[in-house]
């Protein structure tokens, strides 16, 4: 018996050499997680109930089928370290520069030019409860990938005003005991909404000037829509088939935000006129910790009049357009952590 508070987790901040080669301990960091559940492994059995010739319709035998690994959420307060990891592993094309702090410039990889085709970098995930001779849980999941993420900014105090989460997938390959001694937990450099230093959507600056008090909240998300990774030769674990690749499908990038309505609000006009413009969200903690997301070309799909806590608001659904010159989105993260996704 163990309290879930004993669960400790770490994962590769460096990428694996390939999908089946786990991270070594030097490339793994340890973090806390707001998700209170461990990552479950779900081996699936099948039976012979559909087979004719037994004399009845009932199953008589079990067969090993496959590992049906559920997605797993890593939920964190936004920090420079975690955002650099999240964006790098989910988008795929990463440029790392600097000698400390380090600057990561990240854009979505293109299938036509990505060195690994439609596959993103892989990482290992370690979860442990009382690792050692009498461990309750000690395993390393190999070949994990980022299916998507969510980033939310809202009007509230403290760390909860800037949060993000990663949705992870795994092939089913694992090793137990992990053989990993997790390092001390990383102390992330976290952001909150008070640290926003740029907040412009489609020509409206919501940080200063006439629209400086309009902004209420923003939710952005990325989805890689991975294709199923079972194929001939994809591999086995404990006699169960596992996935051997995660290839992105039709990726989606969603942004919604809520602003207060005021005289002269231009959001509805921008929708009607199909006006497009860039969108920039920047959080700056200090010279060594910042995050900036530039959506190169945003239009509005829906502008809906609403009410947020008694204040008249508009909920705006953006359409993120692929700009012929600058692409879809560029993320820049400055952080003290080196070698993320390297």
């Amino acid at each position: 018996m163990a309290n879930v508070q004993e669960l400790i987790q770490g994962w590769g901040y460096k990428k694996q050499a390939d999908i089946v080669t786990p991270n070594v301990v030097a490339g793994i960091w340890r973090h806390t997680n707001l998700n209170t559940k461990p990552w479950a492994k779900v081996p699936v059995n099948e039976d012979d109930r559909a087979e004719i010739g037994k004399g009845h319709e009932f199953p008589t035998q079990l067969f090993k089928s496959h590992y049906n690994m559920p997605t797993f959420e890593i939920s964190k307060y936004a920090s420079s370290e975690f955002l650099a990891w999240l964006m790098s592993f989910s988008l795929g094309n990463v440029v790392l520069t600097g000698t400390g702090p380090y600057t990561y410039t990240i854009v979505p990889a293109l299938g036509a030019t990505n060195p690994t085709g439609l596959e993103l970098p892989y990482f290992s995930y370690v979860q442990q409860i009382r690792p050692g001779g009498s461990a309750i849980l000690d395993e390393i999941l190999v070949g994990c990938a980022l299916k998507g993420w969510k980033l939310s900014i809202k009007n509230s105090p403290g760390r909860a005003s800037a949060m993000c989460s990663a949705e992870c997938v795994a092939t089913g390959q694992y090793t137990t005991p992990s053989g990993i001694t997790l390092p001390a937990a990383t102390v992330p450099h976290e952001f909150n909404a008070g640290m926003i230093t740029a907040l412009t959507f489609n020509g409206v600056n919501y940080l200063t000037g006439g629209s400086g008090k309009q902004f209420v909240s923003m939710d952005a998300s990325w989805e890689n829509n991975f294709r199923p990774g079972f194929f001939p030769g994809s591999g086995i674990q404990d006699g169960y088939q596992i996935q051997g690749r995660f290839e992105w499908g039709d990726r989606t990038f969603a942004v919604q935000f809520v602003v207060r309505v005021q005289a002269g609000s231009t959001e509805y006009t921008n929708l009607i006129n199909q006006t497009t413009g860039s969108a920039t969200l920047t959080l700056t903690r200090d010279a060594s910790n910042s995050f900036s997301m530039v959506i190169q070309k945003m239009g509005f799909n829906v502008v809906e009049l609403s009410n947020t806590d008694g204040i008249v608001t508009m909920q705006i659904t953006g359409v993120q357009l692929y700009d012929a010159t600058n692409g879809l989105v560029t993320v820049t993260v400055v952080t003290p952590q080196n070698n993320i996704c390297q």
Binding site: V95, V107, N114, N326, T330
Partner: protein, 52 residues
């Protein structure tokens, strides 16, 4: 002096030194250019024979 990155074209193999700003990197990265090590860090294409 601004940081620079060395970027390689996915089509021609051309390597270009680029200032690390979103404005300079975005057009290249969105066309599939990827980072490569600085020229001094790159290993020679063929092994160099030692002199005896």
């Amino acid at each position: 002096m601004a940081d620079v990155a060395y970027m390689r074209s996915p089509h021609t193999g051309e390597i270009r030194q680029v200032e690390v700003t979103p404005e300079a990197l975005s057009p290249l990265m969105s066309q599939g250019w990827t980072q490569v090590p600085a020229p001094a860090e790159q290993k020679p294409a063929t092994p160099v024979e030692e002199e005896h």
